[in-house]
Symmetry: C2
């Protein structure tokens, strides 16, 4: 990305092993993330041209001498933060908070080849080479599925609970899928876009609320005996969406917030008297990867359906534009 | 309280049973809460003279026809919010969020007699008449102990965890006690006042940090291998204390916030990237009362030590002034 709105596909030197703990992978596919749009839209400033992309899966091309989790030719999936998977923070279940983490965005996964630092703690190998039909879902596991899943876990979605999901982007839709997989009794998807409503239903939503703000909150409360949802997942990251999410949750309920917060200020007194517990932030995707991969390869879930646009990598700019203009939920880039 | 800083003890009509679910109790003792000081200091406006006090224990004087939890002559302890203990929110463990709750402050527990609505869901009877030496502790259970306990539970204090406590008022000190009772490995009390540091140590603090702000955060991080505490309890309610608490907590850690938030704005991006989970608000004290009463009557804990000033009810004004000027941690009012 050269500046807000300016995406170019350029030749760069092939990545190489720099540390013994590195792996280089040849991407099976890559994609554009909703969070990439913050820079595209100028909400996050772009001071210099930067590589983009942090979602990836593919075949190991080369490994450093210290890598034992995979060998050349293995298929692997990783997370958008590297992790050593051995530090105290990783062991507590938060690899995205690893003391040695690196953001993969700075390395640029919208590419043909990608260097992955801390490969042993970051990558998970699949049992054998996956079928082509599983590739979009495995790619989704790398971020949007793992992030939606974390939102549902953080919101304590589960049996007997009503879950509301604020946000109908890929993460919100996959939070619906996660809540259903975790056994939630009722899942309210908040969306005003017919194709997204349809996908939400396919992923397990039992109710759709098209209203936003006060009306949206009122609609959720009406569906929940006036109390609000037990579990709410926030997957947007704006002031409006956070407040809508808090207000849609009952006292003693849980909010999992995974939209990257931009310009959000949470009023302390509102939060205090809401009695809603908050957990969120960059999702510890590595924690969930083995389980997610298993569900994908066993055809239990099909999160790859969030990719409703597929383009060659060379047309990345159009992939961004389509998502920015909400013509696409999520763009897969073929390499 | 007639206006900020103006406390008068006046004759009022004796409370009576108004609903079949009411009880009237004769208070064994009452007290001034740190949260009463928000109005005393003019941070919360006092538009008209209002009764004060929401912490209470005592002997049942009269019960409505629908009350079965206690009979006349029984000794009972209640919480600062009434609760039916049967609604969905109560059953989920949040009686302070009960759909039928009433704040006891509006009824005024700084008095000789007190009407308690929803007695069956609000009060807990002790097994027999407690010794006089247990009265201060039973009174503390009504709010400050229950609130500190909730802070520790919300922060997931427990074995193997390092707990930091921001705030050295009665709630903060009792959060130290709660963390110790819950088995925390290490407890860092943040206090710069020698007598409060001493009480914190007596309650189980293993470390004292006298610094605040950046220096306080740095000191906690130094004590925790650079990571921050697993569990932090915020027991003040200001912008500074909330930010200090968030920044003192490690990624993937938990913050229990029980200071009543005043003028606090939490920056969403800081919270997001902190990866600190938040739970707080008005404490569901009723959930903990049976357990707290048992620990008090078995002399396992002595939370009544937070009362370092005891005055007759008639001198309530001085009780407020002493706490406002930090000459007293907490004032017990004898009735």
């Amino acid at each position: 990305m050269h500046a807000a709105g300016i995406v170019r596909v350029e030749e760069r030197p092939d990545p190489r092993i720099e540390q013994p703990t590195d792996a280089v992978i040849r991407l099976a596919a890559t994609c554009v993330c909703g969070s990439d749009l913050w820079a595209y839209r100028g909400v996050e400033s772009v001071k210099a041209p930067m590589p983009m992309g942090h979602e990836y899966c593919g075949v190991v091309e080369e490994v450093g001498s210290g890598v034992s989790i995979a060998k050349v030719g293995d298929f692997v999936v990783g997370s958008f933060f590297t992790s050593d998977n051995t530090c105290e923070i990783c062991r507590s279940g938060y690899p995205s908070g690893c003391v040695h983490r690196t953001g993969m965005g700075s390395l640029g996964a919208q590419a043909e080849l990608l260097r992955v630092p801390l490969a042993d703690g970051t990558l998970v190998a699949t049992p054998g080479m996956p079928d082509a039909r599983h590739l979009p879902s495995l790619l989704a596991a790398s971020d949007v599925l793992g992030t939606g899943w974390y939102g549902a876990v953080a919101a304590q979605a589960g049996p007997g609970r009503t879950v509301a999901v604020v946000g109908d982007g890929a993460v919100g839709l996959l939070a619906v899928l996660a809540a259903a997989q975790l056994g939630a009794e009722r899942i309210i998807a908040m969306s005003r876009h017919a194709p997204r409503q349809e996908l939400a239903r396919a992923f397990g939503a039992t109710d759709i609320v098209a209203d936003r703000g006060d009306e949206g909150v009122a609609a959720v409360r009406e569906l929940t005996g006036g109390l609000g949802a037990h579990s709410t997942i926030e997957a947007v990251g704006t002031q409006e969406s956070m407040m809508q999410a808090i207000r849609s949750t009952r006292r003693g309920g849980h909010l999992g917030y995974v939209g990257v917060a931009h310009g959000v200020q949470l009023p302390g007194d509102t939060l205090f008297f809401s009695q809603v517990a908050l957990e969120g932030g960059p999702a510890p995707v590595r924690r969930f990867l083995p389980e997610l991969i298993e569900r994908i390869l066993s055809d239990t879930i099909d999160p790859g359906r969030v990719f409703d646009l597929s383009l060659p990598l060379a047309e990345a700019a159009e992939g961004y534009a389509a998502m920015d203009e909400r013509r696409a939920i999520k763009t897969l880039l073929r390499v």
